[in-house]
Amino acid sequence: MNPLLFFALEGAQPAAAEAMDPMVLIAALYVFALAAFLGYQVISRVPPLLHTPLMSATNAISGISLVGSLVIAGAYEFNSHKLLAGGMDAHASWATLMGFVAVFTATVNVVSGFGLTDRMLRMFRKDIKKKEAAK
């Protein structure tokens, strides 16, 4: 049982149902178009100097797919007997397992992506010469 459930609103309908409303769809298309435009503007300004950190940062950011994986991994009851029995009853357990793998890989991307980006950005310094001269 979810100990945090009292924070959440009622109604445990599957997430996919939310996308069915046509207005939601149109809004999603707006978001996509505007994000594409904004992305083009923002990313064109990143200098070639920082293209490797950029790739690693966008990787980490797209690890936000973790929020989708979390819902899949936690929405259904995992039952190893049903899983082994197969058929329709096994679907929920399979979904949980797939969600688990997705949570794992997305978390790896988020943690290593942000970690490596920071490690790289720390190396880009302007004042090395001054420091060495001061020694």
Binding site: P48, S65, I128
Partner: protein
């Protein structure tokens, strides 16, 4: 499906969670914007990290989540592996790591899609199903494609292109089969057999797409796979009706797309040419300049020439990274600067195995970023350069690209080291470069060759310069 329940969900979203996602999206964009300058980049990325943490924590309160065991296990395992990557992956291995992370991102998207299909195929709208199909196709082909790219970069798989007769026809067949399965699922959501057929063909297509591509073209392939992984995430956002996924996925997708275009421009090739050209598999005629004798120079002479120069430009290529010579270059540059020589670095956009790779390697070796010059800025300066030192680079300084219209790399922008007063080329041996092309630069009057392992040669040069 109870329609009233659906209405209920649509009309009463979790406002706190949606608001968290909105803040996180803004922080992501802010973070990427801060990457426009190295001085602001770190701070901006910290904001993006905070946004990510908030979004993940917020999602744990999602009303669909009832069981936490697998979630916690995945989060802990993922964090451990991710932290290990972040701490121990050497900068020379960044391309492999990035390819692997494209595979991880894509497999997450594909699995979410497959799980959604297993649970809700019957109740999805046509639009949701088409988004889901795109998500799963892009996800699966990016997964295997990136794994192959990673294997090639790491050396598990031979880097040379794998080509055979009828390959493109076979690829077309696989592609058409995949799209066909997709079309069938679109009209018959309960045709699970076709759905899994699409999944299998997606995995296969990813392999087939990347095996014919040589290691030298990896910067383009990496950027392209980056783009696919991002778009696959964005499609997940459409399936789940989740705006932050759409935004982050689109940003990632476009970033990859822009980088692919830049990399293609830097090689003067089209994306289709990279994907289907199988570069480096055929021997081409060299230009008229590629004859004559290469002049060798001794270590001592090279050191003297460098020590008495006014301005020296280093042009590093991937060979610098394979020889782990970035620190040795820095030592030599230090010794030269101590004598009052001006030292600059000319970085070609495709130097290395991923966009911007060479900059990171040199930054790691404590080269200040003010000394790293892009191709467009360093080229006008080469006329006034006394010695240009080419370290482990070949095609990016090949004058044939500029002078010989029959060359396979004709039109590719190069760093014009042949315009410098003298050129010293550090090379492992007399063999050809990665693409198998002859390089007329090596036969020019003002070019001298210095053979040997780049790291050793550079350290010895630094010693000699100090003794001059």
């Amino acid at each position: 499906m109870d329609t009233q329940a659906i209405q209920h969900v649509v009309q009463s979203p979790n406002y706190i969670l949606e608001f968290t996602y909105l803040i996180a999206s803004i922080l992501f964009i802010w973070g990427l914007k801060s990457l426009s300058h190295p001085d602001t980049a770190r701070q901006g990325m910290h904001l993006a990290e905070a946004g990510m943490a908030a979004a993940i924590l917020g999602t744990l309160f999602h009303h669909d989540i009832h069981f936490f065991g697998w979630i916690i296990a995945g989060l802990i395992l993922g964090s451990l592996v991710g932290a290990a990557f972040a701490i121990w992956v050497p900068m020379t291995a960044m391309p492999q790591r990035t390819a692997l992370s494209h595979a991880f991102g894509a497999v997450a998207a594909a699995l979410v899609g497959i799980a959604e299909f297993t649970m809700h195929a019957g109740t999805m709208s046509m639009f949701t199903r088409s988004a889901l199909g795109l998500e799963v196709m892009l996800g699966t082909l990016t997964t295997t494609g990136s794994l192959i790219a990673c294997g090639k970069l790491q050396g598990f798989i031979r880097g040379t292109p794998v080509q055979f007769k009828g390959q493109q026809f076979l690829n077309l067949l696989i592609f058409v089969g995949m799209i066909g399965c997709f079309g069938h699922v679109l009209y018959d959501p309960l045709a699970t057999g076709y759905f899994y057929g699409m999944v299998a063909l997606g995995f296969l297509f990813g392999v087939m797409l990347v095996i014919p591509i040589g290691s030298a073209d990896m910067p383009v392939v990496m950027s392209l796979l980056n783009s696919y992984a991002g778009l696959s995430s964005a499609a997940t956002g459409f399936v789940l009706g989740n705006n932050i996924l759409i935004i982050a996925g689109t940003l990632d997708g476009f970033s990859g797309f822009i980088l692919s275009i830049l990399m293609c421009k830097a090689m003067n090739r089209s994306i289709t040419n990279v994907l289907f050209g199988g570069f480096g598999s055929v021997q081409h005629e060299a230009g008229p300049g590629a004859q004559g004798e290469m002049r060798e120079i001794s270590l001592e002479d090279a050191a003297v020439r460098l020590a008495y120069a006014g301005k020296v430009v280093f042009v590093p290529g991937y060979g610098l990274a394979t020889a782990q010579a970035q620190h040795a270059v820095r030592d030599l540059a230090n010794a030269l600067e101590a004598r009052g020589v001006t030292v600059k670095y000319g970085i070609h956009p495709v130097a290395g195995r991923m966009p911007g790779h060479m900059n990171v390697l040199l930054a790691e070796a404590n080269v200040p970023y003010g000394d790293l010059y892009e191709m467009e800025t360093i080229n006008p300066e080469l006329d006034s350069t006394d010695v240009a030192v080419v370290v482990g680079a070949n095609d990016v300084v090949n004058p044939d690209a500029r002078d010989n219209p029959n060359s396979p790399i004709a039109g590719m922008p190069i760093i014009e080291v042949d315009k410098a007063k003298t050129v010293i080329v550090l090379k492992r041996g007399q063999g050809r470069g990665f693409s198998g092309l002859e390089n007329p630069l090596f036969f020019k009057q003002n070019t001298s060759m210095l053979y040997g392992d780049a790291k050793n040669t550079l350290s010895q040069l630094a010693q000699e310069v100090k003794n001059v």
